[in-house]
Symmetry: none
Subunit: 190 residues, 4 copies
DNA sequence: AATGAATGAGCATTCATTCAT
DNA sequence: AATGAATGAATGCTCATTCAT
């Protein structure tokens, strides 16, 4: 196993254990053991348990942002574009249940320094903020205060993925799929 | 200080410290010290640190449910009733910022046994479920799947309180107040 | 074993182990084990290993200062008084070999914060400084710079006790006893 | 940088760090890093951290002995010769403050195997012992037991250098210079 | 009921040393 | 010779919990 493999094995194992047991209930020793490396190796790659957590948080957020932005399409019809975006985003969650669960748990937890959380959030909200702003200028989205709308988007996304992760078969059911988007879209539209 | 005062002092202190430092970063010794009791006393009132946490969680959820239900009014106009409910609920959060923050942090955290979380959730969702069901029968609310709507309600409420707790002055601004309800209502209505 | 006994047992054991193995080679676990208490107990009485060391250092220095000063006699003949003092001081070292060895090892070591060392030193040097000053006014001691004389006294005392602790039978031999004092006294006298 | 340069860089860095931070507080990694070599390189040149320390101790002691012996003069007047020796020895300490500080710290510390310490000590004490013996035969030095005198010499030298290293400007002051020698010489002379 | 000293398992982290490259 | 990633035993310290008073 090469260096990079070891580092990745540590990250993968940490993600699994943090999600299934929680940050504090997961010992660095157990991460190292399950990752197949020595305890020292974990600290060779990450300065501390907290640094490992932060790295995990930021890199997964980035992975999400990259995954979404690469699939965006802007065809002019804002509602269609939004629906596409909504499906892409939930698809990502369904394809990465562990990572999505990670966010559900740690987005509000004190295990992550709020500074790190802010930083990760901004990179994504910047992009969403821009989309909403365009929708408002086009008269398609309501003129609510932007920060409130962003928070609402985030809340609805978390709620929807929470539901679909707990009931994965519903995501294949067009009724559920359409309903979840309808609630999201109606909340924002003019 | 009587027995009951001591028990209450422990609960109050635990709430403050759990919110400001997190569950794991708060030692039982520090709770006892700040509450002005001996370490042993905490364990006379609560079998374990976890039991203290669960007690806190359930009693606050109950307090919330009682606070809301006592102020409900059903005057026949469902939208007006919903708006009143929305304001009452957010008012509660604004009046009890520590308790609301507590939910934001621990609603998804593994610090609370999922069993306890479910139990607390059901008592509130049962009530909300009934309201939604009535709205659908009256043709005012859309016929989306109920569990999805419940999750969405919860998500929107968390998002709105998150925003208003971070920006308390906005809650006095009618624009923000109306906007937050509008998003909530439009998401659910026919 | 009462509380105080436990604390004392920890101090006694720490002294023995620090002297025989050195500060860093002595684990807190080994101190606790040999003292017959739990690891936690050590940290209940001392905030850290370093705090234990400092406590040990200061209390032994104090014990030494008290032991000496209680036996001082000032009969007017400065040389006789000095000889008495010299014997009392070396007797203390011979009666407390562990504690004396402790000073030999740690008086110059970075294991003790220099601040703590200074503080302990001052309490003793203040007393010696006064004696030397009186001897100089009486014309019996040479007018060398005071700090240099203090350092020399200390150095000679450490050298003499080093020798006598390594060769305890020599301290019963009048030739050695007289010689050690002669060197000390001749160095200082007019 | 050649092999020898690297080895020397390691020794120089180790000296600096051992003196400023202590033996145990200095990691081999930090020595290697500051010396500009890889961690493994340190272990190519020295079998262990302890071996590095011993090498340092012995080579500095040798350097000191060589430096002194090369400047000895024996002109027949024992007091003049002794004064010259005293000045040469203290000059060495003032010119090599780091190395002198190293001895102050480690001469009594368990960081150095007592075997190594003895070995280094003997080479110097043999030479001093011979000088004292000659002085006694000539009737200039007092007939105290030799080992006691050697220990006293060593103690006075450590005391004097301790003072002058802490107050370097005093070494340029003839009063201090003369006083320090006077105390040393009076202690030993007939 | 209340106390707080005592407990000891458990944890994050360090660091001298090794060895494949 | 030189490198530096990897190792894992060892350490100082924490903290929920107990129990004699």
């Amino acid at each position: 196993m090469s260096r990079i493999d070891k580092k990745q094995a540590i990250l993968d194992t940490a993600l699994t254990l943090f999600v299934s047991q929680g940050f504090y209930a997961t010992s660095t020793a157990s991460i190292a053991k399950q990752a197949g490396v020595a305890t020292g190796t974990l600290f060779h790659h990450f300065a501390s348990k907290e640094a490992l957590m932060n790295h995990l948080y930021i890199s997964i957020k980035q992975e999400f942002a990259d995954g979404i932005q690469s699939q965006i399409s802007q065809k002019g019809d804002l509602e269609k574009d939004a629906q596409h975006l909504w499906q892409v985003a939930i698809n990502w969650a369904m394809a990465n249940p562990l990572k999505q669960e990670f966010f559900q748990q740690y987005s509000m937890s004190p295990s992550i320094a709020s500074q790190v959380r802010q930083q990760a959030m901004n990179s994504i909200l910047g992009f969403m903020g821009e989309l909403i702003h365009q929708g408002q200028k086009a008269g398609v989205l309501a003129d609510y205060p932007l920060p409130l709308m962003l928070e609402s988007c985030h809340g609805q996304y978390l709620a929807a993925t929470r539901y679909f992760l707990d009931n994965p078969e519903s995501w294949k059911d067009e009724t559920y799929k359409q309903s979840s988007f309808a609630m999201f879209w109606n909340a924002m539209k003019t």
